[in-house]
């Protein structure tokens, strides 16, 4: 069995051992409930959550009181989209919400849920490199727009959106601006207050923290309508006893990230460039998805004409390489039937033709990847593509047509 080469860091990242160490005491010894803070055990848990809050705030250059811990990015995105839109409607009567067509399902489906509550949702198209053009947003904004939510970068194509510019446009129209920074925080800077963002979503397990912790960082004095109800935890915006170990882990991961982000990003940028250049030179029919330069470091996404994505990823897995595909076939393995299989809306959004979007592959690098890992992919992948081409009917047709022309 070949060793495992993990190149699916947009899916999740391994928990840093230093993070696990920081979390450890909060399972068995420091198990107190932060709400029961009249004795030492509970008080220490409360202090640990607040220390983590300060670290997460520093990561995005915000104040601790702006942080709402959640169970992850999905809950944070739901709270931002539904909570902010409903609050805006209550205060100003505005009822339009704008999102992009490369949003994560937790933004897309939250916006869809708003339609049943009397909102109008408009989905803005990205260009073929995955960018929301400022003029596209400008045209869509009007005095009825409550909220704009545009992902900082989609994990599937890696294009970095100009969120500061988009936020300024939203504000000119009197609308709020939220961005889902789940896939970017670990790799590039996110500045909440300096960029004029009203809400930012973070996810701990996407920057070497634990699963089960995320945060919505809110603009000062901004309060969304709650979407779940209970006690006073997180200012009533995320009631329920805090997941103390995971929150502590998120804080530890945020601190390490702040100290190491530049170095990590440089490492991934170098490896990613080598990987993409190598593939582009050695793999036939390969096309990059997303933006050629304005993209996440270490994010390599592409499609291969005439071959199917799940097959490519399965062959990579057989060589020990963990990758992902946006193909319909690979979309939902627990689907009850094929009608639940859908090709990626993100790839469709950047104009990957549906008859070919099957062949998409996403290789996303992390801190643990090495030059050796890149070498393995560069060695194995061209042969995998050739093997699948040799059994592809559309490639056989292409060869015949070329032969006929000669």
């Amino acid at each position: 069995m070949s060793r495992t080469i993990y190149m699916d860091h947009m899916s999740t990242t391994p928990c840093d051992p230093r993070v696990v160490e920081a979390m450890q005491p909060y399972f068995t010894q420091e198990f107190g409930n932060p709400s029961s803070h009249l004795y030492g055990l509970g008080n220490r848990a409360l202090a640990a959550v607040d220390a983590a809050r300060a670290e997460v705030a520093r990561l995005v250059e915000a104040e601790p009181e702006q942080v709402v811990f959640t169970s992850g990015a999905t809950e944070a995105n739901n709270l931002a989209v539904i909570g902010l839109a409903r609050e805006a409607m209550a205060q100003s009567g505005r009822k339009r919400v704008l999102i992009s067509n490369v949003e994560h399902y937790s933004v897309l489906n939250a916006a869809n849920a708003l339609i049943r509550q009397g909102f109008y949702v408009e989905v803005l198209p990205v260009d073929h490199e995955g960018l929301i053009r400022p003029e596209t947003l400008k045209k869509a904004l009007n005095g009825d727009t409550a909220l704009v939510s545009v992902v900082h970068a989609s994990g599937e194509i890696g294009t970095i959106e100009p969120v500061a510019e988009l936020a300024a446009l939203a504000h000119q129209a009197g609308a709020l601006f939220h961005t889902d920074a789940t896939q970017t925080t670990g790799l590039i800077e996110v500045k909440l207050n300096a960029w004029g963002l009203d809400a930012v979503t973070l996810s701990a397990h996407n920057f070497y923290g634990p699963k089960g912790a995320g945060a919505l960082i809110l603009g000062k004095h901004l309060r969304p309508e709650p979407i779940s109800f209970g006690g006073w935890q997180e200012g009533g915006l995320r009631s329920g006893t805090e997941n103390v170990p995971a929150i502590v882990g998120m804080g530890a991961a945020a601190k390490l990230l702040r100290e190491e982000r530049e170095e990590r990003a440089r490492h991934m940028q170098n490896l990613g460039e080598r990987l993409w250049q190598g593939l582009a030179q050695s793999v036939r029919f390969i096309r990059q998805t997303g933006h050629p330069t304005q993209r996440l470091p270490g994010h390599v996404s592409f499609w291969v004409e005439h071959v199917e994505g799940e097959s490519l990823v399965l062959f990579l897995a057989a060589k020990g390489v963990c990758a992902s595909s946006g193909s319909a076939c690979a979309s939902n393995f627990k689907a009850k039937d094929e009608h639940e299989l859908v090709a990626s809306h993100v790839l469709a959004a950047v104009g990957v033709p549906t008859d070919i979007c099957a062949g998409s592959v996403c290789l996303t690098l992390g801190t643990g990847n090495t030059d050796d890992d890149v070498d393995v992919v560069l060695r194995e992948f061209p042969a995998i593509v050739e093997r699948l081409l040799s059994m592809s009917p559309s490639y056989a047709d292409l060869l015949k047509n070329q032969g006929a022309k000669r």
């Binding site: 199917e308 097959s311 399965l314 897995a317 939902n332 627990k334 059994m391 009917p393 559309s394």
Partner: protein, 129 residues
């Protein structure tokens, strides 16, 4: 031992080492089904002698289950009479593969349609019987 991925060992074997892959030039019957926009396309070539399938090959654009179903279909068909070939169903293909995930049953249905179409094509060209 639990599966290393979404498919069982038989499916993975036929995916990784597909049998009878390729094209038969001057085939006696060709069946083409699916279309790449659903992510799958299968083309089956038959060489028929004296009412028996002498040779069979396939080309498939598709996922692991589509390729494995094509490969298993060709194994089932080799040496069969035309009458026997007509009785091949998606269930016989997925059973021979020791089962497919529910979302991938349509791949074995596509394989069944490929053999039916190839037989129809043969009959059209050579007349029935």
């Amino acid at each position: 031992m639990s599966q290393a991925g979404p498919y069982n060992e038989t499916v993975m074997d036929h995916f990784m080492n597909p049998r009878n892959m390729g094209e038969i030039p001057n085939a006696d019957g060709v069946g083409e089904v699916g279309n790449p926009s659903c992510g799958d396309m299968m083309r089956l070539f038959l060489k028929i002698e004296d009412g028996y399938i002498k040779d069979v090959k396939f080309q498939t654009f598709g996922c692991g289950a589509a390729i494995a179903s094509s490969s298993m279909l060709t194994e089932i068909l080799k040496g069969k009479s035309l009458a026997e070939a007509k009785t091949v169903t998606n269930a016989s293909i997925s059973d021979a593969l020791n089962g497919l995930p529910p979302a991938k049953i349509h791949c074995s249905i596509m394989a069944e349609e490929a053999i039916q179409k190839a037989l129809e094509d043969y009959e059209k060209r050579h007349g029935k019987g």
